[in-house]
Symmetry: C2
Subunit: 232 residues, 2 copies
DNA sequence: GTCTTTTTTCATCAGGTGATGAAATGGTAA
DNA sequence: TTACCATTTCATCACCTGATGAAAAAAGAC
């Protein structure tokens, strides 16, 4: 909003960054991440990013090319990490509880990495989740990337659920997944709406409160939909 | 994307609109609604809106003032209608089932008006829901308006639920509401993600499939969270 | 030290942005 | 008719946008 305070500045003109241990490329990505999360792709100018990063505008184009490529770079930077954390979490759960998996356990293994990373990962990750939530309901901005990285995790979830509820139909599982992801993304966005709505009783940032409720909520939802399909 | 085709054009220069039954103000709102929904506030220029509406740029400022006021006008136009439909639906349910209300019934009365309007309201309403979903996780653009109109409906929901589950804690009800609204908004956005994810098994636009699952899903989720709180 | 390569900055471009004041238009009322 | 007034258009402003080519500065190779 106001005049940006440079966070990294090269000494003179030359090439000091790597010698000083400053990676301007990362600094630019950090700045862009925060701004894109707050204002969206079109709501941010390359000059704002440059100012926030304490860097000349041209440097952004030198490293990333067009503005859209910068956005993609921001999106990709953490996508792989996130993806592998979730796959590992699912793997670990399956290996540890293979004989007696529960819906709630599987769903927890699917969601918990995100909560944990959001809690422990610092502000960068918080911004990143806001960004992912944005992309999640504006597929035009990276829906393809979204699909490329996250479809495998989702299919892993669905297949695992199918293993422990063989009678469930795929249609039901996919719809339930959509409901789950809507809850999850809105929660990770930490918009503050629940704070004002509940007049201070709940806090967006209280992910422990989420953990205590969301897994059970979703598991019961899946169960109900599966059961209802059996009846109808 | 491409060259816009004018949809309404005044004959010469003067003031033919009302005589012809054409309300250019509404035409502008329609055009703005569709564009804002697709590209977001900053992703749309007043010139694009003008072109889509078949109108001069200056006319937009004549009717609405600044661009942001145009956005607010778009948002407000349908907010009141939506709000009253939902309050009426809740009222009707309570009056009809007062002695024996169910969680699923109350939740259905809360959500169903949106599904019905989205199904029967035409493209304008579809765009509007995308817009509301956008605002829902970008509170900076109209979160205040959002709260002003929709908080009363949410409180009505929560109070009604508290009536039929007096043992429930408000904290739990608010968290569950957040989960519900996340599922609902993502669903109403009809992003098409479920279509590709399920390889054609499900369709974003199939709101009948949503009706058959979402109410039961949410009701079971609420029930589980309330029950778990009682135990813990 | 000189040469080369990478990084950073400067200066600038062509085009687009939201916005406005003034003029044109034609319906309405006297 | 004539005067008025809401509506619509035109022309334009000051500023910002993403992007680029060339120059400057520093690090590393020899």
């Amino acid at each position: 909003m106001t005049a940006a305070k440079p966070r990294a500045r090269a000494s003179g003109r030359g090439r000091p960054s790597k010698a000083k241990g400053l990676d301007l490329k990362e600094t630019i990505l950090d700045a862009a991440e925060g701004l894109f999360a707050r204002h969206g792709f079109y709501g941010v100018t390359t000059r704002q990013v440059a100012a926030e990063a304490g860097v000349d505008t041209a440097l952004i184009h030198y490293y990333f090319g067009a503005k859209r490529e910068l956005f993609d770079a921001v999106f990709l930077r953490r996508a792989e990490i996130l993806n592998q954390a979730r796959l590992a979490s699912m793997d670990a759960y399956v290996k540890a509880h293979a004989p007696a998996m529960t819906l709630e356990g599987v769903i927890g293994a699917f969601i918990d990495p995100l909560l944990r990373i959001s809690q422990d990962g610092g502000l960068g990750w918080k911004s990143y989740f806001v960004l992912v939530a944005q992309v999640n309901n504006t597929p035009a901005w990276g829906g393809e990337t979204m699909a490329r990285f996250f479809d495998p995790v989702v299919h892993r979830l669905v297949e695992t659920l199918k293993t422990i509820r063989p009678e469930a139909e795929y249609r039901d599982l996919f719809w339930c997944y959509q409901f789950l992801t809507g809850s999850m993304m809105l929660t990770l966005s930490e918009t503050g709406r629940i704070d004002s709505l509940s007049e201070g009783e709940c806090h967006s940032s209280d992910l422990e409160a989420v953990r205590a409720r969301l897994f059970a909520y979703c598991a019961a939802g899946f169960e109900a939909v599966i059961a209802r399909a059996g009846k109808a």
